[in-house]
């Protein structure tokens, strides 16, 4: 019940602060622009192998936009409560830290889901003029959601570390960018380092989904990543027991 109350309050905060509208519209404008250019590119140059071509590009581009917008959705979740001091009050109500965290995380995931759901309009538009197979799309969206959930968990943790939204947002963006470029420079990095980094790169796990397939290993990896960051968040919240409120 308390997690549900936190969820409802956070969701309302997203929409009354206009943050959700701002993030949603920017996300839709950018992903719409990508869809348009990708479509034009494939119609002119690449033929119409949609799963191999158009959707793969589209999902990879959407992934990049998520990287930049999710820090804006997560940065205030705990940092604002810490700044206002309201977190101190929440800790005196019969609410467990876990319920507090899940309420906030779920509200963020709800906004992300809405954001992704609205992009379904692109394949629907295309389907009016050209047959679109649903399978690869489902795989791509599952991948996007799981990846976004891991991003959000990472951002939630950063937000629990500080009372500054700006710091929380910057740290999240930094971490996500780091996960992204981790495996870029394969030529320059030594082989053993690449072997070490590739398995933990959130982004490399996305390739299979974008190609239209769901690999259980990747699903498990992304869920474990989320759980890892949620555990760190919980640990950070609990650290007040020996650090006090700073």
């Amino acid at each position: 019940m308390s997690a549900a109350a936190i969820f409802a309050k956070e969701l309302r905060a997203y929409f009354t602060s206009m943050l959700a509208y701002a993030v949603l519209s920017i996300f839709l404008v950018l992903s719409g622009y990508y869809f348009y250019t990708n479509l034009v590119f494939f119609v002119l140059m690449g033929g119409m192998d949609l799963p191999r071509g158009l959707w793969q590009y589209q999902f990879h581009d959407t992934r990049q936009i998520l990287l930049f917008v999710i820090p804006f959705l997560t940065m205030r979740l705990f940092a604002e409560e810490k700044k206002l001091g309201t977190i101190e009050l929440l800790w005196t109500y019969p609410v467990r830290d876990g319920a507090l965290m899940f309420g906030k995380y779920a509200a963020c995931l709800a906004v992300i889901s809405l954001m992704l759901a609205l992009t379904v309009v692109y394949p629907l538009l295309l389907a009016r003029v050209y047959p679109v197979a649903a399978g690869p799309l489902v795989a791509g969206y599952v991948g996007l959601f799981l990846l976004a959930a891991a991003f959000a968990a990472c951002g939630l943790w950063a937000s629990s570390l500080t009372d500054s939204q700006l710091v929380a947002g910057t740290v999240t963006l930094g971490m996500l960018l780091f996960f992204w470029i981790l495996t870029w420079n394969q030529a320059a990095a030594s082989e053993w380092l690449i072997a070490l980094l590739t398995p933990v790169s959130l982004f490399d796990r996305f390739h299979t989904f974008a190609r239209g397939a769901i690999d259980l290993k990747d699903v498990v990896f992304l869920i474990v990543s989320s759980v890892f960051f949620l555990a760190l968040t919980l640990f950070t919240l609990e650290s007040r027991r020996w650090r006090g409120l700073t």
Partner: protein, 312 residues
């Protein structure tokens, strides 16, 4: 209702409170005094369930804060210093949210919110955003959230900080009205306020309880702290000299105005009698002889000063 036994809290290398013990019974309003940094807020945070003590035990309405933290939190209403709030929620939305978190059943939530809106005088602003309210109203919202769900224990950390005198009086009246069956622990460093509201005080300094009891009992413990105001129709210097010789009187000082003299004694009645006799013996007329309890402020200062005095 509130029991603290040998509470100690250590943050890293800093000992915030050390072996703090006290008790607050139902129906009591207890003042929690001490200079800034004495450990009042740390103690209150432990009692409110924000973090556990490093050593020692505390219980709220019979719920141990370590063994049954959720039970203890359910029994406590807490008001933190600088009443925090969500600026973009209305008073009513906020209180409903708190009611939900305090696990007040849905069908009783509406009436519970209405009750605290009434008792804290917030009906008129129920639909306004908290961020748009004056400081005094926000402070009342803070008290309302503590009161919501009718907890048997209230812990209020400096609820009158930053208010204008009129608002202070109102908040004080509210706090006094919270008494009744509840146990209230109320911290402040404004002493006349504590004196007006509390039946007993616990004094904390440098993380330790240095005194506990009613203001009168604290006075008695300090000894030599009955204050007698004397006014005699004779030259002041002569009167001061004459009264200083009286055996039962410890100190004699010129009073706050040109006419009166302040004497201090261990025994109020014997002191008064000896003073009256001394005045009469010299053929002067006694115009005023009045016993005045020591203001809490002064007891407090003396308590704080005493350890150093003892050391030196």
């Amino acid at each position: 209702m509130i029991t603290a036994s040998n509470l100690t809290k250590v943050f890293g290398t800093v000992t915030a409170i050390d072996d703090v013990s006290f008790h607050v019974s139902a129906g009591e309003v207890v003042g929690f005094l001490g200079p800034n940094g004495a450990g009042k807020t740390t103690t209150m945070r432990i009692l409110a369930g924000i973090f556990p003590p490093t050593r020692g035990a505390a219980s709220i309405a019979g719920h141990d804060v370590l063994a049954d933290p959720m039970g203890a939190r359910r029994a406590v209403g807490y008001f933190p210093e600088y009443a925090p709030f969500y600026p973009d929620l209305s008073v009513e939305q906020y209180l409903r949210f708190v009611g939900c978190l305090k696990r007040i059943a849905r069908r009783r939530r509406g009436s519970a919110v209405a009750d605290v809106l009434t008792s804290c005088g917030l009906e008129e602003v129920a639909r306004r955003l908290i961020g748009k309210l004056s400081k005094g109203y926000r402070q009342r919202v803070g008290l309302a959230q503590a009161l919501l769900g009718d907890p048997p224990v209230l812990i209020l950390d400096e609820p009158t900080t930053g208010l204008d005198p009129e608002q202070v009086v109102e908040i004080r009246r509210l706090i006094a009205s919270f008494g009744g069956t509840r146990a209230v622990l109320f911290s402040s460093h404004i002493l006349w306020e504590v004196e007006a509201v509390c039946s007993r005080v616990v004094v904390l300094d440098a993380g330790r309880v240095i005194a506990e009891g009613t203001p009168e009992a604290l006075t008695a413990k300090l000894g030599a702290h009955h204050r007698i105001i004397v006014r005699v129709d004779a030259p002041r210097a002569a009167v001061l000299e004459a009264l200083a010789e009286v055996e039962q009187i410890r100190t004699v000082e010129p009073g706050p105005d040109a006419l009166r003299i302040v004497a201090e004694t261990d025994d109020c009645e014997a002191g008064c009698r000896a003073l009256a006799e001394a005045v009469q013996a010299r053929g002067w007329t006694l115009l005023e002889l009045r016993h005045e309890p020591l203001p809490l402020e002064e007891i407090f200062l003396r308590l704080l000063r005493r350890p150093q005095e003892l050391k030196s």
